[in-house]
């Protein structure tokens, strides 16, 4: 039985370029990058989706919960205010850092998988949770570089963090696939040890292999290996929501809709195996 009670259904990461797809696909929810929502009106496509009854989940990318500093009060306030404005059932952020010594990375970077990092991260997550009006889900990130001297693997690290803080899991199957491929371990085996009962929703995004390295681009089709993970996940547990991420190189609408269907199909095949 899962902790998260809200059923979200089929989702799409909102971008202005995807307004057409959002209007035509039968979606249950959208995810919006929290930092892209200003103090003016919500983007028309997001407002229209809300009016049609879609849930909207703010997804933060610059809080730097994995950083050494406490989360910035202004950034937390912004995330909380976006959650309130869209009537969000939850918000999500990352197990990552994006700045150090005042220097921005511009991208999500991994944290060391050590007891020390776990303590700092848990403290930062607790501070964030106190400032937010809704539950917080945490996403693990894809990374090409790994910290040396890891004390535990990613599944264990994420499980411990969520156990300590009570935060929910934003399970990113593409990130898990990417890390397993690039750092040499079994993705499906690792999946079974993630805290699946804490899933708030799932991310699925496209990527590409280049010179033996898998790049989680969100600008390409979802590879068969990731679709297989959608199926395997649903063979293990029910997921409240599955969201497709497409950030760039936008395909024609019917291609995007077909991809959403392929994800649905993989989920259905997995669920059939679970319930028989």
């Amino acid at each position: 039985m899962s902790i998260q009670t809200q059923r979200l259904g089929r989702g799409l990461g909102w971008r202005p370029e995807l307004d057409g797809a959002v209007a035509h696909a039968k979606l249950g929810f959208l995810e919006v990058v929290a930092e892209s929502i200003g103090s003016r009106r919500l983007p028309a496509g997001v407002e229209a989706a809300r009016e049609r009854g879609l849930a909207v989940v703010p997804h933060g990318i610059r809080l730097s919960l994995g950083g050494a500093e406490h989360p910035d009060a202004r950034r937390l306030e912004h995330l909380a205010s976006v959650a309130e404005r869209v009537g969000a059932p939850l918000v999500s952020e990352h197990i990552a850092f994006v700045r150090a010594h005042g220097q921005e990375s511009g991208h999500l970077l991994p944290v060391p998988r050590t007891r020390e990092a776990l303590e700092i991260l848990a403290e930062n997550v607790t501070i964030a949770q106190r400032a937010l009006p809704v539950p917080l889900a945490l996403e693990h990130v894809a990374t090409l570089v790994e910290w040396p001297d890891a004390e535990m693997d990613e599944a264990t690290f994420v499980s411990e963090l969520l156990e300590r803080t009570g935060a929910l899991l934003l399970l990113d199957l593409s990130n898990l696939f990417a890390n397993a491929h690039n750092h040499g371990y079994d993705a499906l085996e690792a999946l079974t040890r993630f805290p699946l009962k804490r899933i708030a929703y799932v991310h699925v995004g496209g990527g590409v292999f280049r010179d033996g390295v898998y790049h989680d681009t969100h600008a390409d089709a979802v590879v068969p290996g990731v679709l297989a993970m959608v199926e395997e996940l649903h063979a293990l547990t029910d997921a409240p929501g599955v969201l497709l991420e497409r950030d760039d190189d936008f395909p024609p609408q019917d291609q995007l809709l077909a991809e959403l269907c392929a994800i649905d199909e993989a989920a259905r095949r997995g669920s059939e195996r679970r319930v028989g």
Partner: protein, 164 residues
């Protein structure tokens, strides 16, 4: 065990520095993977600026990547504003805007409507909260572009042709 945030910060700063500069990573990191990560970071950064500044991308053409690399070597990614703010800092480091053509000039005015430079914090950009108005003289055709940006309403613009 009480966590040492200071030491933790130093380790993260060292990794970040290496990834941004594309140089040798700190001890213990696999050099090839760090290099791949560094390239990926740079590719994403350039991609975000190109996406936010399509006219600038066209104007710079084949020289875009090289000129952005030179800029990126001395200026890190922005704290706010992502590709728009990054591109604004980039454009500001190039030749005077009018030399880049009307389309870039228009992009620049609209970016300035949304972002304002902060004097402290090393001169980064923040979302503009107050009203904004600017007139830009464009050349092809010869006209004046009026841009007004009001909080809650967003940018509005109008062009007036200039009689030769």
């Amino acid at each position: 065990m009480s966590a040492d945030r200071t030491g933790y910060a130093a380790k993260q700063a060292a990794l970040l520095e290496a990834l941004l500069r594309g140089g040798e990573p700190p001890a213990g990191f696999a050099a090839a993977k760090a290099h791949a990560a560094s390239q990926s970071l740079r590719r994403k950064r350039v991609g975000a600026v190109r996406h936010a500044w399509p006219a600038l991308t066209v104007a710079l053409g084949a020289t875009f990547d090289e000129r952005f690399d030179a800029f990126a070597r001395t200026t890190g990614p922005p704290a706010f504003g992502e590709g728009l703010a990054d591109g604004l800092a980039f454009v500001s480091s190039l030749a005077p805007a009018h030399e880049l053509g009307d389309d870039v000039r228009v992009e620049l005015v609209f970016a300035r409507a949304i972002l304002v430079r902060v004097r402290r914090d090393g001169g980064g950009w923040r979302p503009r909260r107050g009203p904004f108005a600017r007139i830009a003289r464009l050349r092809h055709p010869h006209r004046l572009l009026f841009v007004v940006h009001l909080p809650r309403l967003g940018p509005r613009h109008a062009s007036v042709a200039l009689v030769p």
